[in-house]
C-alpha cells in the first residue's frame, strides 16, 4: 500500500477544494481554489493545485496516480474523473470526525447554503438539516456585507469583535440586508456595531439549523465562513459554550472526508478480495 494515493474533491459553488491522502490516512496535500462557472473546470483546477502542494518525494504527478477518487459538494456529479460521488453532508461529517473525533455537531456554512449535521461516534451522520433555498447567512451573504463595508474578509471578521453594542439587522433577506447595512453606515452607526449585528443575525440562523439537527457537544464549524472569528464568537454566545476550533482548515473538511471515504472503499474492496 506504500506509495498509493487517494483523493477527495469537493466542488462548491464558491470554492473548489481537494485533499490528497495516503493509504495510512495522512493528508499529503490540499487546495482551495476559486470556483469557475463550470464545475468540471473547478474540479480539475482544485486537484491539480492539490497535487502541486504535495511534497515532490511522493511522486504524485497526475490523476492516474490515484487509486480512488471521490467527488462531493454541489458539483459532485460533474467531476469527470471521480470513481463515485458522495453527498457533502456525509463527507463533512467524516472529515470532521477524523480531524477531531470529539465533535458531535457541525454547522457548515458554505458559499450558498448552510447545514447542521449531527454525527455519530463513528463519524456517520445521525440527522441533518439544510437551508439551501436562501443565501441569507451564507458565504454569498458575507461577500455582499464585505462589499458594503468596503473591507476584506479578515477585517470584517475581526471588526465585530471590537463592537461596543449590537445594531440589529432587521431584514431577513440578504439582498435587503445589504441595503439596510448601507443605510446604517450612512447614518454613521459604528461599523463594528453593525458588523456585530450581522454576526448575531447569522448566528441565530445557525442556532436554528443546529437545533433542527440536534445539538450535542462538541460543536464545530466548517466551510469557508468558519474562519469568521466574529461569527464564531456570536454563535458561542447563542450556544452558551465554546465551539471547537479544528486543527485543519475547516474549509477542507468536505474534501478530507471524501478522501477518507475513498481510502475506506479501497481497503474494503481489498479485504473482500
Amino acid at each position: 500500500m506504500k506509495g498509493e494515493y487517494i483523493c477527495g474533491c469537493d466542488v462548491g459553488s464558491t470554492y473548489g477544494k481537494a485533499a490528497i491522502m495516503d493509504m495510512d490516512g495522512a493528508v499529503l496535500g490540499t487546495s482551495i481554489v476559486r470556483s469557475k462557472l463550470d464545475p468540471e473546470k473547478t474540479s480539475i483546477l482544485s486537484v491539480e493545485e492539490a497535487i502541486r502542494n504535495c511534497d515532490a518525494r511522493h511522486g504524485i504527478r497526475g490523476l492516474d496516480d490515484f487509486v480512488y477518487l471521490i467527488g462531493t459538494g454541489y458539483g459532485r456529479n460533474r467531476v469527470p474523473f471521480a470513481d463515485e460521488n458522495i453527498s457533502e453532508i456525509t463527507c463533512h461529517a467524516m472529515g470532521v470526525h477524523i480531524t477531531d473525533p470529539r465533535v458531535r455537531t457541525i454547522v457548515d456554512i458554505g458559499g450558498q447554503d448552510m447545514k447542521g449535521i449531527s454525527i455519530d461516534v463513528d463519524g456517520s451522520v445521525r440527522h441533518f438539516a439544510m437551508n439551501d433555498k436562501c443565501a441569507a447567512g451564507t458565504g454569498r451573504f458575507f461577500e455582499s456585507m464585505i462589499r458594503a463595508f468596503e473591507v476584506d474578509f479578515e477585517e470584517f471578521s475581526n471588526m465585530s469583535l471590537r463592537a461596543k453594542q449590537i445594531v440589529r439587522i432587521t431584514s431577513q433577506c440578504s439582498v435587503f440586508a445589504e441595503s439596510e447595512v448601507v443605510s446604517l453606515v450612512a447614518q454613521k452607526k459604528d461599523p463594528a456595531d453593525i458588523a456585530a449585528g450581522i454576526q448575531a443575525a447569522v448566528a441565530k440562523r445557525c442556532f436554528t439549523m443546529l437545533k433542527s439537527a440536534g445539538v450535542e457537544r462538541e460543536v464545530t464549524m466548517t466551510g469557508g465562513c468558519a474562519k469568521n472569528l466574529g461569527l464564531k464568537k456570536a454563535l458561542e454566545k447563542v450556544l452558551r459554550f465554546d465551539i471547537v476550533q479544528l486543527a485543519t482548515d475547516p474549509q477542507l473538511m468536505g474534501s478530507i472526508g471524501a478522501a477518507e471515504f475513498a481510502r475506506r472503499k479501497v481497503l474494503a474492496k481489498r479485504s473482500v478480495a
Partner: protein, 390 residues
Amino acid sequence: MKKLKEMEFFEGLLDNPKNELVEKALQEGRIAIGYNCYMVPEPLLSMGNAFPVRLRAPGVGGTEVANHYLSKFICSYARSILESALDGTYDFLGGLVYAASCSHVTRCFQHFDLLNINSDKEGFFTQSLDTPRKVAEPGIELMKSFLRKAADKMSQHYGIDTSDESLRKAISEYNVFNRLMREISDLRKEGNPRITGTEFHTLVVASKIAPRDMLMEPLKKLKAALEKREPVKGYRARVMVVGSIFDNPGFMELIEEQGGLVVADRYCFGSLPGLEEIREDGDPYEQLTRHYLNTCECPRMMEETKSRLKSVREWMQEYKADGVIFETMKFCDLWGYEVLSVVNRLRDEGSPIVRIEREYALTGEGQLRTRVQAFIELIESKRLSKVLAG
C-alpha cells in the same frame, strides 16, 4: 433494468389531465367529475356514465395569477390547481366535487365559483363536501348528507342514476379494480421487487385520472409482464415515502436515481390507503362514509395522530422499508405539525427518517438530490454499524 412497454401506456396518461382515455370517454358521452382529495369517495363519482378525475396540474411552472387570488403563502398544489383552472385546463369537467380537506384546498376550489370557472359550460356544477375531522356519529350523518347532495346534483344535471343500487354497483367495480391493483402492489413487498416505486406510482396516479374500466385490460397485461420480469437491481435501500400531495413521478424518479427504491407510498395519490375493499352490504352511502373516514391517513383527522404513527411503523415492517422520506409541501400546517409526532418519534426510536420540504412542481432538483443521497448514505451507514455490532 429494461423498461416495460406496457408501462408506456400508463406514463402517457399523466402529461395532460385531458388524456387519451378521458378524451375517448368524453366522446362516448360520459361525464368527467373532478375531485380533489381521498375524502371524496371515487365510487360516488363513478355511478352511471360518470367517472372521477382527480385534479393535477402537470407542467404548471409559475402561479402568478393564482398568487394574486390565493396569495403566495398558500400551498403550491392549491395555487397550481387554480392556475391550471384559470388556464382552462379543466374545461372538460362536467362537475366538481371537492372535500373541505384543509383551508388551502377548500379556498382553492371555492374559487371555481368565485371566478366562474367553467360556469359557461352547460350542466357544470360544484359541490363541496363538509368532511368531518373525526370518526363520530354526528359527523357521519353530516358527511352522508353531503354525499347525497353531490349525488343529487349528478342526477339533476346529467340524469345519472344515483340510486343505492347504482352506487353499490360502482363500489363493486371499484373493489374489483382494487383487487387487481393490490396484486401488483404486493410485488413491492418481495425481497427483490419486480416493480419500481416510480412505475407503481405511475399506475396509481393513472388510476385516479382516467376511467378505471378502461384501465382494466392494460393493467392485466402489465401484471402479466411484471410476473415474468427480473427483479429490480442496483438499489441501495428500500424506502417508504410519507406525506401529502405527491403526483409527479419525476420526484419518485429522483429518489430512485439516488438508490432509494420506493416500496411503500403513504401519500395523497398513493395506495396507502386507497386499495382497500369497501363493504358492499347495507346502505352504500353509509358504507362509503365510514370507509373513507376510517381509512383516511391525513393529519386532518385530528384524533388519529397515534394511529397514523402506528400505521407508518406497520407499513415499514410490512414493506420492509429501511427508512422513511417524509415529504411535506411548504406552507402545509397539517403535515408541518405531523413532523412533531411522526418524524421526531420515529427518529427517537432509531428509524432512519428524513424530512424534505418541497413545492408542488419539481424544482430545486439539486437540493432534493443532495438530501435524498445523504439520507440513503445514512441508511447504509446505519446498516453497516448494525452488521459490525452484530
